[in-house]
């Protein structure tokens, strides 16, 4: 890491700095892109939980494909949509690591739907950061499964028409019905308050893994002002005015909440018990 070239003047206090888990480089993201905010939140949580040296990140294919340059942890770059499968391979071999995927909505909700559903179905102890910007950003603004009805993209000229292109896919609602999911939440990266809630959700999604409760997934409603053809400020407002009504914010599943165990299924064994031991290859009691 680059060393600081200045001395902090005495009597002053650092109130804001780069998290240890981010590298000291300029990202390639467009000005105003919320990918940068999401990276920072993930890195802050990794620092706060003191798991940087145990963390293994799985970068996906999308605008965040270069995430491996930005997180200062061990990283694997996965094929489009396959991050949860790659993460499964790592976590099964190294249960002591803390494995997270960072995936866009094309990656997770189109080409990778099978991989995310089945990682949740198996109750893999993984943390999934899911960036829903209602578009294929990297390839130039094509329609995603998450694109809103009527939303104009390069492959839905005139707006997405449900008769031909169907309806937005709600991943949190889908994943939260699976018994293997421990924590599922959706938050928006559109205001300081919602960003604070997003960070709490990310922390919980990591804690679910640390406690071996199963899959933790946080969907972050994000902006892509470039492909939405708006100013960054308008894009943040559009999240709140257009996306939130279709993608309601909140916690869809939380293993720590009273009744959560009962509300989920009788088939899932108490987490952290014999299941976890078996995962680690120890003799199950």
């Amino acid at each position: 890491m680059t060393s600081r070239t200045w001395e902090r003047p005495s009597g002053t206090e650092i109130v804001y700095e780069r998290p240890r888990s981010l590298t000291d480089v300029v990202t390639h993201y467009c000005p105003g892109c919320t990918h940068g905010i999401a990276h920072r939140l993930v890195a802050e949580v990794i620092d706060e939980l003191d798991i940087r040296e145990r963390a293994v990140g799985i970068a996906s294919v999308g605008c965040s494909v270069l995430a491996y340059k930005y997180f200062d942890v061990d990283m694997l770059q996965a094929a489009h949509g396959r991050a949860p499968a790659v993460a499964t391979g790592v976590k099964r071999v190294r249960p002591e690591t803390v494995v997270f995927t960072y995936q866009g909505d094309g990656d997770l909700a189109a080409i990778g739907t099978a991989e995310i559903v089945h990682a949740a179905m198996r109750g893999e102890n993984l943390t999934v950061i899911f960036i829903n910007n209602a578009i294929f950003g990297m390839t130039g603004g094509q329609m995603a499964p998450t694109t809103l009805v009527g939303q104009e993209t390069t492959t839905s000229p005139g707006g997405r028409r449900p008769q031909r292109a169907g309806y937005p896919i709600r991943i949190c609602e889908m994943i939260s019905v699976l018994d293997g999911a421990a924590y599922v939440a959706r938050q928006a990266l559109s205001s300081p308050q919602s960003i604070a809630r997003a960070k709490k959700a990310i922390r919980k999604a990591f804690e679910a893994q640390l406690e071996e409760r199963g899959l933790g997934l946080v969907e972050l409603l994000s902006s892509c002002s470039v492909n939405w053809k708006m100013s960054p400020g308008d894009a943040l407002r559009w999240i709140e005015t257009h996306m939130v009504p279709v993608y309601p914010l909140g916690v869809f599943k939380d293993w720590t909440e009273a009744g959560a165990e009962a509300a989920s299924s009788p088939v899932r064994p108490a987490a952290g018990g014999s299941d976890g031991a078996e995962r680690r290859g120890e003799a199950a009691g």
């Binding site: 940087r52 040296e53 145990r54 963390a55 293994v56 799985i58 494909v65 270069l66 491996y68 997180f71 200062d72 942890v73 061990d74 990283m75 694997l76 770059q77 996965a78 094929a79 396959r82 499968a85 790659v86 993460a87 499964t88 391979g89 790592v90 976590k91 099964r92 071999v93 190294r94 002591e96 690591t97 803390v98 099978a114 991989e115 559903v117 089945h118 179905m121 198996r122 078996e278 995962r279 290859g281 120890e282």
Partner: protein, 357 residues
């Protein structure tokens, strides 16, 4: 210690050999004719502290292998032809990111859904990389259960040494047949050479990266050149073949199950007084060109026999380089050629000599 001979089905023997080679992780999706491998692994791996994962698809299974290999483990997947097509994405990524792993293909008839009988029609896919990009995998084509068992350990060793995916190509017959085998002594996976490049969490070191993205063209070309240098080394050092009856006038060329049938046909031809030998490639990639140089000291002709309509014959022609006629005989779609059919082809080759070119 004298090792015991046991009677085992090919698929189960292969699975046990993998466990003894230190493989502790298996990822797969059911498909005939290789189901005994995942079934065996689902029982066996938990006994040795390993893990079996039944994946949601072959695509997921190969990407789990990418993760497990990337995390430094000896790990494998197995499938048959239609499933191997789905794995090509991950094999290409493994080759590019230099992640070791074992992929077994108990080949069945194709194309499409094909059938479930033995075939060798995935030869091109296996030996030309199979997925997108400029890469190769090491490919073994064993002919007996014992040879398959012996090659499993070698496959893991080479995968680790060269940091590359390795493929074992069997077929429905080799997977299902029961033969006596001597199993190798177990290897302790904790005592294998360390893999400092693996993504295991950056404890007290700089972060590791497993990646195949190279946006700058020059950088991507550089990766390809580095891979090619590795492949050249493999071509030079890892060729394996068996020549039966060296010095013969004619050679039958066949691998795997077909080689067993051809061995019998060659024996019958020799009883008839014909000077015929068998050249049996064991590594399909690297193709055993050195064995062809040896055969060419006396060979006046070659007959390639495959359970396909002619795939390996391309490599035979390239290796022979026009120095002798190369004939072809094949059955496909799950049809296994008989020794009589092959014997007829041998007789024709000897009779017609150069005219069969």
């Amino acid at each position: 210690m004298k090792r015991e001979r046991v009677l085992m089905k090919g698929n189960e023997a292969l699975a046990e050999a993998a466990v003894r080679a230190g493989c502790r992780y298996f990822f797969g999706y059911p498909i005939t004719p290789q189901n005994e491998i995942p079934e065996y692994m689902s029982r066996r791996l938990p006994e040795v502290g390993g893990q079996f994962v039944q994946a949601e698809s072959e695509v997921a299974a190969i990407n789990m292998l990418y993760g497990a290999g990337g995390a430094g483990a000896r790990a494998m997947t197995s499938s048959s032809s239609p499933g191997i097509s789905l794995k090509q994405e991950g094999i290409s990524y493994m080759a590019a990111a230099e992640v070791p792993g074992l992929i077994v293909n108990m080949t069945r008839g194709g194309p499409g859904l094909g059938g479930i009988q033995p075939a060798q029609s995935d030869y091109h896919q296996a030996t030309r990389g199979g997925g997108h990009g400029d890469y190769r995998t090491i490919v073994f084509g064993p002919a007996t259960v014992q040879e398959m068992v012996d090659l499993v350990g070698k496959a893991f060793d080479l995968a680790d040494r060269y940091r590359t995916p390795v493929v074992i190509v069997g077929d429905g017959m080799l997977g299902q047949i029961m033969e006596p085998v001597v199993l190798p002594d177990p290897v302790d996976p904790d005592r294998l050479p360390p893999k400092p490049w693996a993504t295991t969490g950056a404890r007290g070191r700089r972060p590791n990266l497993i990646n195949s993205l190279h946006l700058a063209a020059a950088e991507c070309e550089e990766l390809n050149r580095r891979l090619e240098a590795k492949y050249s080394e493999i071509r030079a050092n890892e060729q394996m073949a068996e020549i039966v009856h060296p010095g013969a006038d004619y050679f039958v060329v066949a691998y795997g199950t077909t080689a067993r049938i051809c061995r019998e046909a060659v024996g019958q031809a020799r009883e008839e007084g014909l000077s015929v030998g068998l050249l049996r490639p064991i590594t399909l990639w690297p193709f055993p060109t050195k064995a062809f140089e040896e055969a060419l000291e006396t060979a006046k002709g070659f007959l390639t026999v495959e359970m396909s309509l002619g795939q390996m014959v391309d490599d035979v022609r390239l290796s022979v380089g026009g120095r002798a006629p190369v004939r072809f005989y094949g059955r496909t779609g799950g049809v296994v050629p008989s020794a009589e059919e092959v014997l007829g082809e041998i007789r024709r080759m000897v009779e017609e000599g150069d005219e069969g070119r």
